[in-house]
Symmetry: C2
Subunit: 256 residues, 2 copies
């Protein structure tokens, strides 16, 4: 039987507020078995860019990454956020190791081709080095992944953290029983975005497509769920979309 | 017989100038056997602090690290500089892994006690986890260490990169034949600071003490050499102080 592996993706406000982050990491430390944490950077990068007078450009909810923006992302994601998390996990006796996709050649990606939009230094994942990640897990380390990958030619590339979570889950599904938990600001996928308590408890592909057509599920939720269903199709056992505060409660939306 | 391990410490301008860094990493990639790279951050951190309006305080050539300065150091050292190096080494087929002392609990330090000076978030090294470093090396990874450690209680601490190099060399001297190369802006330890070609080829402890008394060796060279002689006394085989451009030429000052 394969070992249990929990992959948690966190982003948004919880990363930015020291008390919320502390509570989150405490909860994360209590998860039994092997685990991986994947984080975004949230507004810290945007705020730093503003302070430095670097304009943040967004198209369809995706950040356009020019050279200066990439530097800021590298400083905030791989530096400040990643190492703050690692140091705090160490204090919770979790032997964390903070990594980008460049470290140990962990995640190789391809710079997104320019079509009608030039996303700049953004990478689409080509390959997750599941062998190296499995070795780290088997040596009892807890990888903490920042949302940066590399192209193997010396360039770091900004990569969506939800996608890294899904692709890492897919890649590790060969060696582990993977549970993937997406933590975000809501309590789950909502039937009514104005009603925090309208959480959809179970969501399958058929229902998802219906809700999309009906306009119930829309916006930023769509790439998140596309990632989730893709991971499910690749053998990830359980996918939960929930709030950071309810990570360990079993509440949220179950993708099945 | 123990395997050969080369530990290279680089800092200053070479880190800041893309072409110089590229040349340095190319040279580093050509070193045979196991290797570790330890880097500072140089003026990039100071420049970022200036842009953000955070005052950089120095006392006796040491940076005073308040909370904001620590954040900047974490962004620049562990983020931008470390991951830029890792991505470029990967392109040179060196399987680099960028780490701080918090990652894998690699370097534990103690926040420097306040005496007449409060250095702030600065750590003095207590313990280098030579077992974990040796395992990484034996798995053919090349650790790239940023000058940050942790106190095991959740705090990152700014730590002098020269000291990290010396302490890492000392700790690994149990398992490897260690050669430690300090790269800096001069071609070696100079007899006359105004004459680039007055490199002292061999320096032993007796001569060092004599040159210190005579005022030939002074300033920032003293902590660097104190570190070097301490490493030598702990079994490090060879210590060379040279310029980044001459890392692989065998030129420079040999500490013996």
């Amino acid at each position: 039987m394969n070992f249990q592996l929990t992959i948690v993706k966190v982003g948004g406000k919880v990363i930015e507020e020291p008390d919320a982050l502390k509570a989150l990491l405490k909860d994360f430390s209590l998860i039994a078995g092997y685990k991986v944490l994947i984080h975004g950077g949230g507004r810290t990068a945007t705020e730093l860019a503003e302070k430095l007078g670097v304009e943040s450009k967004m198209v369809n909810g995706r950040r356009i990454t020019d050279e200066e923006t990439l530097k800021i992302a590298t400083m905030v994601y791989a530096g400040l956020v990643n190492k703050t998390i690692v140091a705090q996990l160490q204090a919770l006796r979790v032997d964390a190791i903070g990594l980008t996709g460049a470290d140990m050649n962990l995640i190789l990606s391809l710079k997104r081709p320019v079509t009608d939009i030039d996303y700049g230094f953004v990478g689409d994942i080509k390959d997750v080095n599941y062998k190296v990640l499995s070795e780290l897990l088997n040596q009892s380390y807890t990888p903490v992944l920042a949302p940066l990958t590399h192209d193997g030619e010396g360039n770091l590339l900004n990569t969506n953290a939800d996608t890294i979570a899904a692709e890492t889950a897919r890649a590790l599904a060969y060696n582990f029983n993977v549970r993937l938990i997406y933590c975000f600001e809501k309590k789950g996928v909502l039937m009514d975005e104005n009603d925090e308590n309208s959480v959809i408890q179970n969501l399958n592909l058929e229902l998802y497509q219906q809700y999309k057509e009906e306009g119930i599920i829309k916006g930023g939720m769509i790439p998140k769920l596309d990632n989730a269903f893709r991971a499910l199709a690749s053998g990830v056992r359980e996918i939960i979309i929930t709030s950071a505060a309810e990570m360990n409660t079993g509440k949220g939306t179950y993708i099945q």
